[in-house]
Symmetry: none
């Protein structure tokens, strides 16, 4: 179940994109599953359809979902053989930045490793 944090500084549409990806990784959504239409999800989350539309467009451009006219929107099987190295580089940069930020807040590397392990566990289906 997607929930939107309206007080977060993260754009709503990014939160939606992220939530879908998370549910896929958790196995809640699987390849081929149908996801709600833009209007449905907008109504469900009390959001503007434009916002959901933007999220779905981004998910499409990232090859996460597929929209079939007249049928609906479906989860696509992730292509494990291809890696978007450019994207990964970005994420890596953000990762490093975040580690530095955490270190500056007196978070030890051991603690960071724990964070990583816990996230790993939470994604095991």
């Amino acid at each position: 179940m997607i929930t939107i944090d309206r007080s977060s500084s993260k754009p709503y549409y990014e939160q939606v994109v992220f939530a879908i990806k998370e549910e896929i990784l958790q196995g809640i959504l699987r390849s081929g599953d149908k996801i709600p239409s833009i209007r449905e999800l907008a109504q469900q989350l009390l959001m503007n359809p434009n916002t959901i539309s933007k999220a779905y467009k981004q998910l499409e451009s990232e090859n996460v979902i597929l929209t079939v006219r007249g049928k609906g929107t479906f989860i696509k099987a992730p292509d494990l053989s291809v890696r978007n190295e450019q994207q990964i580089k970005k994420v890596k940069q953000q990762f490093t930045d975040l580690v530095i930020e955490a270190r500056y807040l007196n978070v030890e590397f051991d603690e960071l490793e724990n964070w990583l392990k816990n996230t790993k566990k939470s994604l095991e289906v």
Copy 2:
């Protein structure tokens, strides 16, 4: 030496904040060291003094630097005894989100651990 990525979407002033923190963690800047004046750094980075000022103000509010009137700005010894748990919580959330993002890009957990280790190494003084 601070460099600004003008094509990044990260605000300039945040990049400056981050760069200073990084240099401190790397041991390049040490407690008591003088950092360039607002005007100096602005000229050096070809930026507006207001932008640098914003960065310095944030660093001061985060207790990273100390401003002494007419003398300049100095690195402050981080208070290792205090942990801002509220801030840490935020960073942890970002960390978890980033891990999920990375996993979706087919980055294995082993690779993430390597990123962590490498960052650790780069910060060893």
Copy 3:
């Protein structure tokens, strides 16, 4: 209603910060209330939007208000369980200094107690 003392040496943006806090303590503003947009308040007080923005940013960093994108700015419920002892120490120092200053102006302690009591009354909702 916020009024700015343009002859005061206190920065405008601090006066705004202070005025908002005062209205909250007086019960004029309550948790969840919407406050004017930056542009609105700027126009109303005949000030530059940047100045109001600075005030709002400080209020947000102090956890007094909450900014919701495209919706506006709202009063946040103060977290009564957390005390920022570092900040309190600063205020205590200022308080003590001010008492000494007052004593030097021949203000008796009884009078100071009255000031305190009157302020208390004015904040009783």
Copy 4:
């Protein structure tokens, strides 16, 4: 013994003014006592003579000290019969502002009364 907090945002000269007043209230300095010359105090506090000069000038304008050419500078007996109501009004405003600030930091009125009492005690000669 005067000490200057070089990391404070309070101007040095104001700190000097304040310190002299405090010593008078504490009974360390009494009416007629000779205080160091500008040069002496500047050397002692490792400060620029201009700064001390500014402080002394302000103290003179506030009728706290008296400079006798060729003799030195002396503490003046405070005139208890006259009250500078304008100054007091200013201080009262600052006082009220500070109380509001403290209240916002979850400092109860009882605690503020204690601060007041403790300051009173510390000034009893």
